[in-house]
Symmetry: D2
Subunit: 139 residues, 4 copies
């Protein structure tokens, strides 16, 4: 199933070229990711301040098709994909006025926050992957 | 009348101390301000890319009472105050779980975007000031 | 003594009005503060990830006199002021091409990071206060 | 030739996991890019507020190998690559204490800022590409 997140482009998101600063698009991806975690019942405060487990991003990529302006209403479609027992990917599609304006991917690895060695996902992440993934298919 | 804006604290808003980075609180104030403009029917894209008129912030201050954490749901109460035909102030109160966690003020001056000399507010700003102000009283 | 920090305005610092986004000025203040700590021999990594002591900002204010543009070379003059055994203020002056473009103040309180109760400054902070303060006089 | 840019990790760059927030690494790439433009004699203020030509990023990707902490001194090695008369790529390598901590790429397309149709690079961009490129070889 696809998770949908709506977001208004803020003045802060823009730069002197009058459009969204490129790196801020990845920050919006992370917002959608956080919201999808919350939608699966995951407590964000606990999840992101966990001192034993972390799921850092090891890779991100983004393609820009059209500029986004302050005030634009963007619809972010998120879909996750299980890669292994410690790795997943999240794909994001940004839509404004029925046109795809950007696409992005983030790859995450579950690690022990202290030793930084790989660690299997918790049950709640497995549940989240089942909820917002679709038979190994990305957007 | 008070304008109310709800916002979830995002991972990006935090710093290595585990709480919201201080300057990001002012960015959230501006988000609430933008949302209040939109609620009064102002087109944000036109408003913030206007090449003839600008309403830059000339002063801002903020007081922090309690830390804000990733995942916290914050309620921002915004109230504006007419100071002169080219100046207004906006007051913001941040509430988490019924406790005031921060207060802030921004002061704005209307100028000609090219000459940067003062200029009277447009009719839509006067309407916005009437809608979200309260007889010259700040929060 | 005044601590001096030089910084080029980056594209990311700007917004769609073509000038520096107001809240980013406070982030630049913090950069200058960090650099002044490092100049006094304080290890920033240890200082900002200290799990027992924290010195959060409880108040900040900023005044803007002129716009700052991408590429501008800014000179930030920092001076700190001892207020009590757990409180200090830092004053910042932003200068571009010999003109003051902004002024800011941050107030910090030393606390126990767990209980969040007040705590006296460490010896290294006292030394930093002596180095960059001037007989209780702010800029 | 490789362009080298040094940058201290700031508190603002970090998140509640205690390390640099992933999207901020791309913002640091852009800082290095801006500095390389300035090093070739390009006026950043004119370049980034040019109302007729723009060189937006159409693609970015980043790989993270090790975490970066507040206070870390990072060395960014930048190299650009000519792809066509309107397209170039920039590759970035992040090094901390002689270890590669991240790698990134940004792809840029030169366009007419109004019509948003493709446009050939100006002479100054061609000069910059010659200065920081190396026979079509990326890092």
């Amino acid at each position: 199933m696809t998770f949908n997140y709506t977001r208004t482009i803020r003045f802060q998101d823009t730069d002197a070229a009058g459009v969204v600063y490129f790196a801020n698009v990845l920050a919006m991806c992370h917002e959608a990711y956080e919201q999808s975690l919350a939608a699966s019942g995951i407590n964000l405060k606990v999840f992101f301040s966990n001192s034993s487990v972390a799921i850092p991003i090891v890779h991100a990529s983004v393609d820009f098709f059209r500029p986004m302006f302050c005030g634009d209403e963007i619809f972010i479609k998120l879909m996750c994909k299980y890669l292994s027992s410690e790795t997943f990917e999240v794909a994001y599609q940004f839509v404004v006025a029925d046109k795809i304006v950007a696409k992005a991917i983030t790859r995450h690895v579950c690690i022990d926050a202290v030793s930084r060695s790989r660690k299997e996902f918790s049950a709640e992440i497995v549940r989240w992957l089942r909820e917002w993934g679709e038979q190994g298919k990305l957007i």
